[in-house]
């Protein structure tokens, strides 16, 4: 209340001093303009957080509320005549409570068998059960095709596979949507949320241009015109072609918009590159989403990506360029890129596995070997931040695949010892740790970035000083490493938090999707991609505000950097693919 009055007071004071000004310099265009600039920022800095919070809520609520998939892929007719829907492409059957189809009989094994739909056919795989699996009375040794009408017997428990009948498959659980969530179908209209994002970006770009006044930078105007056009096009094509929820894309348009604002403040000359990266990223996203929609195709893609990744890493070590003490860049003459960013996509896809594989064998040798190569190469490149990202993601994927806490704990403690050795023997890393929680002591040396971030964040308050009015953006590499500080200073703590919460939301959303996912491939990929986003964000944000030691790492979608932006969009395709729920407005199609 007090602060509100303070604002009113400021406004009155300001009016009192400005009104004579207007009369004094009547006819002077510039003075009018200066007044408008001041007043514009004064108003929009209250509007932005409100818009951002609205956008955030309108995007996350529909994504978390849709409950069940609309279709069953087939049915199992049990002996008592009940029909059990097969909700996934991979269904585990067994006595265990976490089986997708629970048969609570003592002679059925805990994880007895997996019924898998792939290449347009159903397969049954015995998970080494005691009672064995029979199809039409013949005991199976290897995964075997099950045709509709065939009888499967699990240790004597018989069931018949039936196809999903047409009327029911699409509309089976439609009631779930209409009754509980979106009564009118209009409550959460993604077009409205998109319009809010456009409004936010439109008001934002005016703020950026006014802050630059009297200098006029056409790059800013042009970049935003192209960006707004591109996201509108992308959104409408998606809206028309895809039957899925689109809020995920909306959140990323919002983040990309923030990254363009940051680059406008920090390095307007590099705006075109950032814009190109966003556009290319959207393309990569769409292509990758299409590629992995088919599991057979994905399996081929997996080997291709894995071998490309290894080649890239070797090339990087051989001909890479060193910047800021890390050898991360490959220069092709006309373009420079960071291979480790693209390796992230390969890393996630290599980590995935179908449920039958996952339950029959705990063998993760290939994945562990690939992780070892990636992490080893990154250590040689001295990119320790990315090492942590890969390792954290490795833990997530490995745990999802094996479910073995003890092994994970063992690997983690091994890694911890390794990390301590690295800290002890690398003076550059050791100094980071010495600075940690002592930044004010080293305010002009190793604590420079963190202290400046905190000073800038405090200067911004909750509402920010207005885009383009900050000082942090002029610090070297602020638009990659200190983006959180720039957001706090120029846009305010509220918007900075929303940006971080969007990334945290992606992780929660990936977990949420796991429940009704068609295949464990998509579930693991989504969680893997989300954990890369999450860990990168944690290291970036918490590192610059001195909660964690500082690591020079980018924030997905927000930091400046072409490779990072493209890789972020690529990883997003994995999260998107795990969600196969249908939008209410497309449910009738």
């Amino acid at each position: 209340m007090n602060i509100f009055l303070e604002n009113v007071k400021q406004f009155l004071e300001w009016s009192i001093t400005k009104v004579p000004d207007i009369f004094e310099r009547i006819g002077n265009f510039f003075s009018y303009f200066e007044i408008t600039i001041g007043l514009y920022t004064f108003v929009v800095r209250w509007v932005f957080p409100i818009l951002a919070i609205t956008i955030f809520l309108r995007c996350i609520l529909p994504l978390l509320q849709g409950r069940k998939r609309a279709s069953a892929w087939g049915y199992l007719m049990m002996m008592d005549g009940s029909r059990v829907p097969l909700k996934h492409w991979e269904n585990s059957i067994g006595r265990s409570k976490v089986s997708d189809i629970v048969i609570a009989l003592p002679f059925v094994s805990r994880n007895h068998a997996v019924l898998t739909f792939r290449d347009r056919a159903w397969y049954i795989t015995d998970l080494g059960s005691k009672g064995g699996v029979k199809v039409n009375g013949i005991k199976i040794e290897a995964p075997q095709i099950v045709n509709y009408g065939d009888t499967i017997s699990l240790a004597g428990v018989k069931m018949t596979l039936l196809p999903a009948d047409e009327e029911e498959s699409g509309l089976l659980q439609q009631d779930d949507y209409t009754a509980t969530l979106i009564p009118s179908g209009r409550l959460f209209n993604s077009s409205a949320a998109f319009a809010l994002i456009l409004l936010f970006q439109f008001l934002g770009v005016i703020q950026v241009m006014l802050a630059m006044f009297p200098e006029v930078n056409l790059a800013v105007t042009l970049t935003f015109i192209v960006f707004i056009f591109a996201e509108t096009l992308h959104f409408h094509i998606k809206h028309w072609l895809s039957r899925k929820y689109l809020e995920l894309e909306l959140l990323c348009y919002f983040l990309c918009g923030m990254s363009l604002f940051i680059v406008s403040s920090a390095a307007p000359d590099l705006l075109y590159i950032q814009l190109a990266a966003i556009l290319f990223g959207m393309l990569v996203y769409s292509v990758l989403e299409f590629m992995i929609s088919d599991l057979g195709r994905t399996r081929k893609l997996k080997y291709l990506l894995a071998s490309t990744a290894i080649i890239l890493l070797v090339l990087n070590l051989a001909i890479g360029e060193t910047r800021y003490g890390a050898k991360l860049w490959i220069n092709l003459g006309f373009i420079t890129f960071q291979p480790s960013e693209f390796v992230k996509i390969a890393f996630v896809i290599v980590g995935t596995a179908a449920l039958d594989k996952l339950l029959t064998t705990r063998n993760m040798t290939a994945f562990i070997a690939f992780s070892g190569i990636c992490i080893g190469a990154l250590v040689l490149m001295r990119d320790f931040g990315t090492v942590v990202v890969f390792f954290g993601t490795f833990i997530v994927i490995a745990f999802m695949r094996s479910g073995d806490l003890r092994t994970i704990a063992l690997i983690s403690s091994g890694a911890l010892i390794g990390a301590m050795a690295v800290i002890a023997f690398m003076p550059y890393i050791a100094s980071r740790f010495a600075t940690w929680r002592n930044i004010w002591k080293y305010a002009n040396t190793t604590g420079f970035q963190q202290t400046r971030t905190l000073i800038a964040a405090a200067s911004g308050g909750l509402l920010g000083v207005g885009s383009g009015n900050g000082f942090l953006a002029s610090i070297a590499a602020a638009d990659t490493d200190l983006v959180f500080g720039i957001l706090c200073e120029e846009w305010g703590l509220l918007i900075a938090f929303i940006v971080v919460l969007i990334i945290v939301f992606l992780a929660v959303y990936a977990v949420f999707l796991t429940k009704n996912c068609r295949s464990s491939f998509y579930a693991i990929a989504a969680c893997g991609a989300a954990s890369i986003f999450l860990i990168q964000t944690a290291l970036n944000v918490l590192g610059t505000v001195d909660i964690l030691p500082l690591t020079g790492i980018t924030m997905p979608f927000v930091s400046r950097g072409g490779s990072s932006m493209i890789a972020s969009w690529g990883l997003l395709a994995f999260i998107k693919s795990a969600d196969d729920r249908i939008r209410p407005d497309k449910a009738g199609d």
């Binding site: 200067s459 308050g461 909750l462 796991t514």
Partner: protein, 456 residues
């Protein structure tokens, strides 16, 4: 998939850790951002380590005490005024810890947690304005009265808490700072605001604490008579008086500042009661003047022997007092036992009235006790200074001559208040190694009080 959902919880756990990190950051932000923002590396406020954005400090009459013009600091036009209020405004290099510059940087830069450093810029400059309760002319008069002696003068309105006069000497002209190191004797503790941050042996002014305890704890104290033959024998030790006062009442004892009578009273009261009344009077704790903490005076009687207790009751032993705290105690006696916390900022924040009545003020003893004590002080003041001193303003005061040992002259104290609705002022004057309180400190206090009365 249920199996995977369960295992995916590890990612939820990671998310939770990130949220915990954010919460810790938020906590630190809420607590420390006002400090972070004042760092000299903040280019919103500083250029090359020099502040570019500082508001103006005014006194209560709207006189500019400190201002920032085009990145350079300027003070009041008159040398005596700026020297007298130097401790209140602070100097150019932030040497005075308790100055307004150091204590209210947020107000001066216009920072708050919602708007940050953002301000709708007006032509009259940036930053915010700050109005102090001080009267600069009065401070200058007080500084002149000290005439080069070390010490402090304070006057405050015991009904509103506004500090009108706050002067500490030695001081210097902040516009032309002298070479402090060249004359360490002259500039001893020059950066310390003695009113807020110094403690001195109180001497006889402490008798007002002992008297309060006696009024509340000894029956028929008004009728009680003391016998003084110039010395009080306690075991093998002596408490001595200036002269033999003979048979006297409490008010006569106070007027003649009889050590024997107050020594006896202290023994009668005992260490616990005296300790309790000392603490009620503000000893062993500090006040907060708009968040600026004062130094705390000390009274520790737990291990005192009888003779030491007697000396403590007359303001010697290990007792120390902070001038501002003692002035607030004077104000409380005048204000029916209600101690109104002194403040230095003129404008109250909108929300502060809510706290003002509850948090800042303290009823230290009953109005009845206050009235009795007031009458006692008034009676003794009249007997010494007569009706003509501050005629019609109800001067109530006590002098103190605090022995400091080491062959040095005693500190001269003079503290009290005007029992007047129109001029509700409490005051304190301390002159370091000045000599007799009534001869050295009292004239200073009376002149400054007269100036205060004339200007309001």
């Amino acid at each position: 998939m249920k199996l995977l959902l369960r295992r995916a919880a590890i990612l939820l756990f990671f998310s939770l850790l990130v949220l915990v990190g954010l919460v810790i950051f938020t906590w630190q932000y809420v607590n420390n951002s006002s400090t972070w923002v004042q760092h000299p590396a903040n280019r919103h406020l500083y250029a090359n380590g020099k502040p570019i954005n500082l508001g103006t400090i005014y006194d209560r009459a709207g006189r500019v005490l400190l201002q920032m013009i085009d990145g350079s600091m300027s003070f009041h036009g008159d040398k005596t005024v700026r020297t007298a209020v130097m401790h209140a405004t602070g100097d150019m290099h932030n040497n005075v810890e308790t100055s307004a510059q150091m204590a209210f940087p947020d107000r001066l830069s216009g920072w708050n947690i919602i708007n940050g450093i953002y301000r709708l810029k007006s032509r009259s400059g940036s930053g915010s304005n700050l109005t102090l309760t001080l009267d600069a002319e009065l401070c200058a008069a007080a500084y002149e009265e000290l005439s080069g002696r070390k010490g402090t003068v304070g006057i405050y309105n015991y009904q509103t808490g506004e500090i009108l006069c706050m002067v500490s000497a030695p001081s210097f002209d902040p516009e032309n700072p002298p070479d402090i190191d060249a004359d360490p004797e002259k500039y001893e503790g020059v950066y310390i605001n003695r009113l807020l941050s110094a403690v001195y042996t109180p001497g006889s002014v402490f008798k007002l604490v002992t008297a309060a305890a006696a009024i509340e704890n000894i029956e028929n104290i008004e009728e009680k008579r003391f016998y003084c033959d110039g010395k009080l024998q306690i075991g093998g030790d002596l408490v001595t008086c200036m002269s033999a006062h003979g048979e006297i009442s409490l008010s006569q004892a106070l007027a003649s500042s009889c050590n024997v009578a107050f020594g006896q009273l202290s023994l009668e009261l005992g260490p616990e009661k005296l300790q309790r009344y000392a603490e009620l009077a503000g000893f062993n704790s500090s006040l907060e003047v708009n968040g600026i903490k004062t130094a705390a005076g000390r009274v520790e009687l737990a291990d005192a022997k009888d003779v030491e207790l007697a000396w403590a009751g007359i303001g010697q032993y290990t007792n120390t007092a902070n001038p501002l705290n003692f002035m607030a105690y004077m104000g409380a006696i005048a204000n029916d036992g209600l101690l109104v916390n002194p403040r230095i900022l003129r404008e109250r924040r909108v929300l502060s009235f809510v706290n003002a009545s509850a948090g800042e003020n303290k009823q230290i003893f009953s109005p009845d006790t206050a009235k009795k004590l007031k009458a006692l002080i008034r009676e003794s003041t009249l007997s010494i200074y007569g009706e003509d001193t501050m005629r019609g303003l109800g001067l109530c005061a006590k002098s103190g001559t605090a022995e400091v040992g080491g062959g040095k002259r005693p500190h001269a104290w003079f503290a009290g208040f005007l029992d007047s609705e129109e001029f509700p002022f409490a005051f304190v004057v301390v002159i370091e190694n000045g000599g007799f309180g009534s001869r050295v400190a009292a004239p200073v206090a009376l002149k400054v009080l007269q100036a205060a009365v004339n200007s309001f």
